[in-house]
Amino acid sequence: METVAPLEEVLDLIKETGGESFKYCYQCGLCDVVCPWNRVRDFSMRKLIRQANFGLTQIETEEIWRCTTCGRCLQKCPRGVNQIEVGVSSRRIANEFGVFPTSVRAIRGVSSSLLAEGNPLSEERKNRADWAKGLSVNTFSAGMEILYFPGCYLSYDPRLKKVAAATVKILNKAGVDFGILGTRENCCGESIRKTGDEECFSRLARENIKTFIDSGVKKILVSSPHCYHTFKNEYPEFMVHFEVVHIAQYLFELLNAGRLALTKGYDRKITYHDPCYLGRHNGIFDEPRQALKGISGLELIEMPDSRKDSLCCGGGGGRIWMETPKGERFSDIRVEQAVDVGAEVLVTACPYCITHFEDSRLALEDSKEGGGLEIKDITEIFQEAM
């Protein structure tokens, strides 16, 4: 057994970068027990926390990059350790020293794309509003009811542009007076922050805030739970408070207010996956389910690991930009669960989840079991039911 001494300098750095809650850990192991990683491979959050406790964090290893910030351990930790903050603090240190293992290097490109073009996908800023062409979407102006903030993936990703389109169709149908920022929209910065790049996050946030204020934004509608989370819980660090609503909530609101009429119904068995940042992190479990139940003919089946115990898709914490080898993808388990409960459609409300599930669905089709499962955003269901 190797002998080591506590490294106080590192310890101080972790404390400075917001990871001090490691100190509460009494090593019960519950974080490891509930961590989705341990369903696909060995990974010990408890060990990471323990290493932080003595300044023995190994910033050069892949281990500190694994956490998807799904929040399962944090929610269960009996001692009140915030594993996400501890993890992010070691990533901040890695950023400071510029140390990245091979599988993580892609985030450097992400970071420069974010700074240069406002999106992580190396797309050009000028094309950000292309998705909205022909959908009668206005640019936001003061006095409008709501700002629609589709976020990066819905703006650029071919699969997710369909979700943006579905969203605006619903909004128009319901007569919502909304607009978008178009090319002035920047990435919300939530995920880059989780990779420890505080500077990049801060720049994105400031720019967005400035744009919101300049445009007279009061209420923001988002499609991504990650945007939702950071606008609601992190932007207030900059002393601003915007009203934020996620589309899953908004659909429920529109239905309840009688603004959205559903004429068709949807005769399929669906299951709903709670995105970590909508459900566990922000407590929104019932509104999407209630909204879905408002569609006639739709049968909602629950998967195991639902609601607060939802199984992460693997995309949070910057993992959306990192390659996860086959056999280690949580989303593979999730689509299998959906098939196992007899769902024809796996519905969710997060672009990361959809991206991962679509990948896993393809893998599932390759294996010829459970072929035919569809992955849909909640808006796509409503679009069909209208």
């Binding site: 057994m1 002998t3 080591v4 019960c28 192991g29 490891d32 027990v33 290493q51 003595f54 009996p78």
Partner: protein, 1014 residues
């Protein structure tokens, strides 16, 4: 009786669990009239639901139920069940309490508890006593041994009370005891003091949807499992699981459910009892199913109580039992088998998943559900956890004078602490109400004793089922039939529980009706039940020594459970032998001994002084002996407690009160030279500074404390920077400069205990370490403090401070006994340091720490003079050298020898607050004797036939109690027994060459007759 007098009492005890019962009995025995009020249909509390109790595995009901009957027979206790407090007004000495007696729909004094109504009732309801695991009727008796043994009607399910559909029960009741139109009744009582003993609730895992409880059938709580284990439980003592009633072969226990967590809906404190009760359940489950596999998922194992460490080892060493250090998640239920999958973490093999046939949740202790309401009504404060806010200097006091607290309402505590606290609450009431002692109390009156000398033996035999304990194995009706035909037997019957109130009454009724003059109860052990049945004989009007017990449980059904046929045969033989012996039993007289009204307290520490003060305040003389030059004991070296108490201030104040009290006489430099006598009349010879005096006293309290072990490991005594925890505390109090400049401080726990030499946990050291660490952090927040521990045993509220220490940056490192920390003196950057290396199981690395100061949490060891004292007073010690109480659960401050009591660390290491509580308890118990004018001693003692005595002296030299001496007679010196000192062990009988000395109640004739009948 005039109702206005009926409603005036001395003390109201709220809560009829074990703590309330003990408080009521102690008060009633010291001349106070008590109202014992319980909201349940019967007294008994949670203890009545337990199967066995740790660490002795005594049957819980068997040791508790004799106390139910003692309460019900006590002329100074009025039991009010199904009754709640509506309001309380007044002040200490003069409270007016309004009680609401809820309708039972039964006229109490008419109901005989016959159960006919229960049989005919058509409505089946989940049985709350059995944790809803089985069904009962809408009208039923709470449990078989219930006091009072009468039915009650569940208004929510009774068809009549719901919509007047059925009243079949009314028709069948021959005593017309059912009144379905009964209304609640308001009762006003006046008392001088109140003891609150409302107990606790178990944590409800359903509320947070944890661990599948309430969703998965085979997930049960530990209290459910107590019922499952119990012979009166849902499966009649067979371990079965709810889903399919199969015997589970693989069971998981999950620890800390609801405890030790800062999660919403959970409790931050440690519930303190779950580790030990789980070990008990594991041991019992293994007894039931030898090939059972058991996994206990835990974090720390908190075996901090007396003999708990050995108990833990006993459980751990059983085959197929594994303790796994990990909290877990219940992940799924197999839809077909209903088995439950659990995931847990390991340090070297990642996360594992295992399937179990049954999962037991070791749920913690919550405050009573109505705690807030109670607090409001009684005008007392609760603490932040919702338990009673008590004073650390006197944990039995509430925030309101005249209202005291005992039992688990004080916070999460175990049965012995609840019983100690009860006796302590008795002491405090007695202090307050000493002036009116005896004004309302009356003596118990027995019917006159029948002279049976001219009668032929007429034996009555009562064969007990003990629920299913005996009945499941032994064919009880066959035994009854068999004994009916034996010589001298004129009555034989079976009973479900011989010790229940109704059966005891049946016995005394049968004695009168059938003219019985000998009684044999074939049941359990005389150790727990003989006093009850002897008393029953007295109730029946015959001499109590006409009673004989045949043990067909411990000696038969329990040991031959696999062979019912032979067991039944053996039971018949055991009973036959007892009947034979019983026929020869003689009536014996007990000895009345006058009581000297002085108490001797040995040991002038916190425990001794607290006891002395309490006894004096209750109006009795106290002789307080201290071997040292000043009062204070170990506390003189302690400065703060974890909770922040100023120990020296408290000590100074207490010492002043002791010296100022006119009834307390202190002797310093005292050394005991000799002790003679017996309860009520001891003579202790004491030497102080060369002067010898003899002190006469009626009772004694031994409070000689304990000491800190002087380590011979980890460079202690060789390196000046190695200190013990007490020494560190002293340096902190002195604001020692070297200390505040230390950069790194390392503490090592369990030094000198939890090892082969001292196989016990010293209980206080984890708390001590956390306290010193917090104090150091307050002096110097920059100091690095590392606590190297095996299990952090910060039980109860101390858990909060453990977390607080972590919050202040104190680091905790676990070590395993096979890889102890290593300490070496070294020089680092020119400064001398102690290099401490310790393997960290989670890191998988060895940590090297440079300590400026090393602190050893040295064991608490019994003081040298405890041993000598035990010899003088002829009291027992446990294998570790601590004084041994009479019964770990129910007589925690008594010795087996009457009139001698104990408190403080001489009993076992404990915290100051715990010592104070126990000291009041000892004072309370001591006063139950001091208030009496006389005590009785057993009639089963030896006597000498002087005509046969050859004056050889063999009996005198063999007697352990000095009970035999020569005396001059006309025919020279003859041996004579002092019946008061004789303990009836019969050792002298075996050495007498002339058979001149015999033991009454165990004469040769009696024993031979018994053997002949074998």
């Amino acid at each position: 009786m005039d109702s206005s007098i009926r409603n005036v009492g001395d003390v109201m005890v709220l809560g009829g669990g074990i703590s309330g019962i003990q408080a009521a009995l102690d008060l009633a025995d010291t001349g106070f009239k008590v109202f014992l009020v319980d909201r349940s249909p019967a007294i008994g509390g949670k203890m009545a639901q337990l199967d066995k109790t740790f660490p002795t595995n005594d049957c819980s009901m068997c040791i508790e139920s004799p106390k139910f009957i003692e309460c019900s027979r006590h002329p100074n206790i009025e039991i009010l069940t199904y009754t709640e407090v509506e309001s309380l007004k007044g002040k200490a000495g003069d409270f007016k309490v309004t009680l609401i007696k809820k309708p039972r729909y039964i006229i109490e004094d008419r109901c005989t508890g016959c159960g006919t109504c229960v049989e005919v009732c058509p409505v089946k309801v989940p049985d709350a006593y059995n944790q809803n695991l089985s069904l009962n009727k809408a009208i039923h008796i709470y449990f078989t041994q219930a006091v009072p043994l009468i039915t009650y009607v569940d208004p929510d399910t009774c068809l009549y009370l719901q919509d007047e559909k059925c009243n079949i029960c009314i028709g069948v009741c021959q005593n017309k005891a059912i009144d379905l139109n009964q209304r609640e009744e308001t009762i006003q009582v006046e008392v001088g003091a109140v003891i609150m003993a409302p107990g606790f609730e178990v944590f409800d895992p359903k509320l947070r949807n944890d661990f599948g409880y309430g969703i998965m059938e085979n997930v049960v709580t530990s209290l459910d499992f107590e019922r499952i284990l119990c012979s009166t439980g849902p499966y009649e003592g067979e371990i079965r699981r709810p889903s399919d009633r199969k015997h589970p072969k693989k069971i998981a226990w999950i620890q800390c459910v609801g405890s030790r967590q800062v999660l919403e809906g959970g409790n931050s404190y440690c519930s303190g009892v779950c580790c030990a009760y789980t070990q008990k359940q594991v041991i019992l489950a293994k007894d039931h199913e030898a090939d059972l596999e058991a996994r206990i998922f835990h974090n720390d194992i908190r075996a901090f109580g007396k003999d708990f460490e050995r108990f833990y080892q006993r459980a751990e060493n059983l085959s197929g039992v594994e303790f796994i250090r990990s909290y877990v998640a219940v992940v799924r239920e197999d839809p077909e088998t209903k088995n439950v999958a659990i995931r847990y973490a390991t340090t070297d093999g990642g996360v594992k998943e295992e399937e179990f046939e049954l999962v037991v949740l070791s749920v913690g202790l919550n405050p009573p559900k109505n705690a807030e309401e109670l607090a409001k009504k009684f005008g007392i404060e609760l603490n932040e956890h919702g338990f009673c806010n008590s004073n650390p200097l006197n944990p039995i006091e509430t925030s309101r004078p005249g209202i005291f607290v005992s039992g688990a309402f004080q916070g999460p505590i175990d049965i012995p602490e609840s019983v100690m606290g009860a006796s302590g609450a008795d002491a405090l009431c007695s202090q307050l109400l000493a002036h009116r002692r005896g004004d309302l109390a009356v003596d118990r009156v027995y019917p006159p004793e029948r002279d049976v000398s001219w009668e032929e033996p007429r034996v009555g035999v009562f064969v007990c089922h003990c629920g299913a304990n005996i009945g499941r194995v032994v064919d009880v009706p066959a035994v009854v039939e068999y004994v009916s035909g034996l010589d001298n037997v004129v009555h034989a019957q079976e009973s479900l529980f011989a010790c229940s109130t109704d059966n005891a009454k049946q016995i005394s009724d049968q004695i009168r009706e059938k003219g019985l003059n000998r009684v044999v109860v074939a049941a359990c052990t005389p150790r727990t039940h003989e006093p009850l049945f002897r008393d029953t004989c007295r109730e029946g009007g015959i001499n109590q020594y006409f009673y004989e017990m045949a043990n067909i449980r411990e000696h038969c059904s329990w040991v031959h459970s696999k062979d019912p046929e032979s067991a039944t045969q053996k039971a018949k033989e055991i009973v036959r032998m007892s009947v034979a012996r019983a026929s020869l039993l003689d009536p014996l007289k007990e000895y009345e001994l006058p009581v000297n009204k002085t108490a001797l307290v040995v040991g002038g520490g916190v425990g001794g002084m607290t006891s002395a003060l309490s006894i004096a305040k209750q109006g009795f003389q106290v002789q307080l002996l201290e071997k040292g030059e000043a009062l204070g004991g170990m506390a003189r070296r302690l400065h703060t407690t974890l909770e922040g108490m100023d120990v020296q201030g408290f000590l100074k104040d207490t010492i002043r009160k002791v010296y100022q009290h006119p009834l307390i006489h202190v002797t310093l430099h005292a050394a005991i030279r000799d002790v003679t006598g017996y309860v009520g009349d001891f003579v202790t010879t004491v030497e102080s500074k060369g002067r010898v005096k003899k002190i006469q006293h009626g009772v004694a309290i031994l409070a000689t404390g304990a000491e800190e072990y002087k380590p011979d490991e980890y460079l202690y005594g060789e390196n000046e920077n190695v200190l013990t925890q007490v020494e560190l505390g002293e340096r902190i109090a002195q604001k020692d400069e070297g200390l505040s400049q230390a950069k790194n401080l390392v503490m090592i726990q369990c030094v000198g205990c939890r090892n082969e030499e001292r196989n016990y946990c010293s209980r206080v050291c984890c708390t001590h370490a956390v306290k010193n660490a917090l104090n150091l952090k307050a002096l110097n927040p920059e100091m690095n403090i590392y606590i190297l521990f095996r299990d952090m045993r910060t039980y109860g509220y101390r858990e909060d401070y453990y977390r607080e220490a972590a919050d202040r940056g104190v680091k905790f490192i676990r070590w395993e006994p096979d890889e102890k920390p290593v300490v070496q003196a070294a020089t680092e950057d020119g400064r001398s340091v102690l290099k401490v290396t310790v393997a960290d199981p989670i890191l998988g690395q060895r940590l090297e720490l440079d300590a400026d100061i090393l602190t050893l949490s040295a064991a608490v060891v019994p003081s040298d003079d405890s041993k000598e004292l035990a010899r003088f007073f002829k009291v027992a010690m446990n294998p570790d050298g601590f004084l041994q109480e009479a019964h770990v659960k129910l007589r925690p401050v008594d010795f087996a020898a009457e009139g001698i009591f104990l408190c403080g660390a001489a009993h076992y290491p404990k915290h100051i607050t715990e010592t104070i509580s126990q000291a009041y308890g000892a004072a309370g118990r001591a006063v139950t004797i001091l208030t009496r004018d006389s005590v009785t001693a057993s009639g089963a003692v030896c006597e000498v036939d002087e005509s046969l005595c050859e004056s050889c002296g063999a009996c005198i030299s063999v007697c352990q109690y000095g009970a035999i001496a020569f005396h001059e007679t006309e025919k020279g010196k003859k041996a004579m027994v002092n019946p008061v000192l004789c303990k009836g062990d019969g050792l002298c009988n075996t050495v007498c060459p002339a058979k001149a000395i015999s033991l009454k109640h165990f004469t040769d004739d009696e024993i031979f007759r018994q053997l002949d009948a074998a």
